[in-house]
Subunit: 348 residues, 2 copies
Amino acid sequence: MSERPWSELGFVSLRTARFIALSVLVLGSASVGWADDPLPSWNDTATKQAIQAFVERTTKPGSSNFVPVLERIAVFDNDGTLWCEQPVYVQAEFIFARIHAMAPQHPEWKTQEPFAAVLKDDKSGIAAAGEKGLLELLTVTHTGMTTEAFSQTVTDWIATAKHPKTGKLYTQMVYQPMRELLRYLRANGYKTYIVSGGGIEFMRPWTEAVYGIPPEQVIGSYGQLAFEMQNGKPVLRKLTKVGLIDDHAGKPVGIQTMIGRRPVMAFGNSDGDLEMLQWTTAGKGPRFGLIVHHTDAEREWAYDRQSHIGKLDKALDAAAAQGWTVVNMKADWKQIFPKDLLSPDRNR
Amino acid sequence: MSERPWSELGFVSLRTARFIALSVLVLGSASVGWADDPLPSWNDTATKQAIQAFVERTTKPGSSNFVPVLERIAVFDNDGTLWCEQPVYVQAEFIFARIHAMAPQHPEWKTQEPFAAVLKDDKSGIAAAGEKGLLELLTVTHTGMTTEAFSQTVTDWIATAKHPKTGKLYTQMVYQPMRELLRYLRANGYKTYIVSGGGIEFMRPWTEAVYGIPPEQVIGSYGQLAFEMQNGKPVLRKLTKVGLIDDHAGKPVGIQTMIGRRPVMAFGNSDGDLEMLQWTTAGKGPRFGLIVHHTDAEREWAYDRQSHIGKLDKALDAAAAQGWTVVNMKADWKQIFPKDLLSPDRNR
């Protein structure tokens, strides 16, 4: 039997996908398509049981909590929920790498902050530049070019960029239990979306290969675009003007604008996800909220209320008050990172 | 055999949908799932042949023009492409109806323009109010309320609102050949999107029932939203500040922001669709552009270069220069409007 649910098989022809769906039906088995445990990297704790119980009661025909397939929307934060965000957001590393790559064309950066600090890998110097400095770095590395040129830059970088502590590719610093959860939900008719504070154009080039989430199901922060002709060809140029900051209150706004329906399930890990969880779980009918709590200093990182990155304070209180499920990473996850090698080029 | 392709069956369980896909496979037939002609309301002209030839060469495994399922994106303008836009945009009729409905709470409107003109059904008075007046009408009827309240207003109105000339429901003033085309494309693995200058929140409540296009595949003009608590419950309130005007150059911008990939096929009918067609057809590999030319004064309307609504001038020249397919409504469409009664509540 296939290890992968049919919904991930979009890169084969529809006819073949149907044939595989048919094989699954004919050759045996439960609706999820796994021989046994769809969530093998999760320990058999209350957290795993809560997830499975919710999926079962929302997908079983005749259940009083049944949710029609078209309404099965599940939204996931990315940084700290689907992949590692420590010791610094991956997108920040991308920005620093771009500054290094662009430096030969900008000799003035050697003495000009915040660029000089980046070129010297001087973290405290970068921090000293504050929000204004970061915005300058973001503008220089993320705007002015066409969407296609930017996408190519991301694709090239992510293919080889490695985590500073583990030396693994960033695309291997994703959480295996969450990958299994994404697959499990899709196999049960849920449409999985990313709703991240990170850049929409930074995520889209690789989410399909790494998470099975296609570009049109990725919501993130974005700038405005200008449609224009360059050498007689239409292009979209990335502008500095903000379109959406998809964090905190921006998350439900992004969801409404891009999806137009309220999700049934929402997954986050920080205060930046609070409003998304509030919006999702305030809907009528069955709703599910989950917070990934980073509690494993040995295998990953342990951080919450006081953390600079991924601060989890108000949302942790809200989880207790609202009955959201909280993942205790140390106790609930048997394995954190994937054992298999992921190729970002799998689907191309 | 089922008349409707499996992709429209999202409202039944995934398992049932699989079973139906299985039945289609086992009980007979071609990949499209129809006994014979998938486009029965199209005359057998060069237009129909061009559409079918393109779909066949992009979906046939082994074809040099094969497009993987995940990349099969087709975008459709709405007003004048999927439904009637004469003698006035349907959304304008909605605005006028809302002004009438809200008038009892606004006695001052009896003497205040542009409201007074609307209440007297004085079309030239409304026209005289110009763009500023229209913006005022739009603001009063489309902002200030929550997204849920607005959606309910649209749902209630569209259930009974009728076309001023034909007396039919607006949801029956959709083009039957285009409905068949939407189904045919979906049955061939294309994901169908609306990309309209109309309001995103005005379309989403009914597109699923009428076109089989779910809210998350509807792109339109939108205003910004505010996330806030009302009586302890989170809501999204519609603001007057513009998010996107999804017309002309705004269409490729909306496509890139919401979908993040370039469509393979684009369908429009006016100069407002020109940039969307340019952006789509400038992509590498096989691309298809189509313009619906309103040429049938008897069964619908005949208009193009000089029309106030749905002006088709530059895009008609571009179609000739770029080799886009042009629908001659009078010659190419056997039937214009559906014979069957559509219920907007079909999927609810």
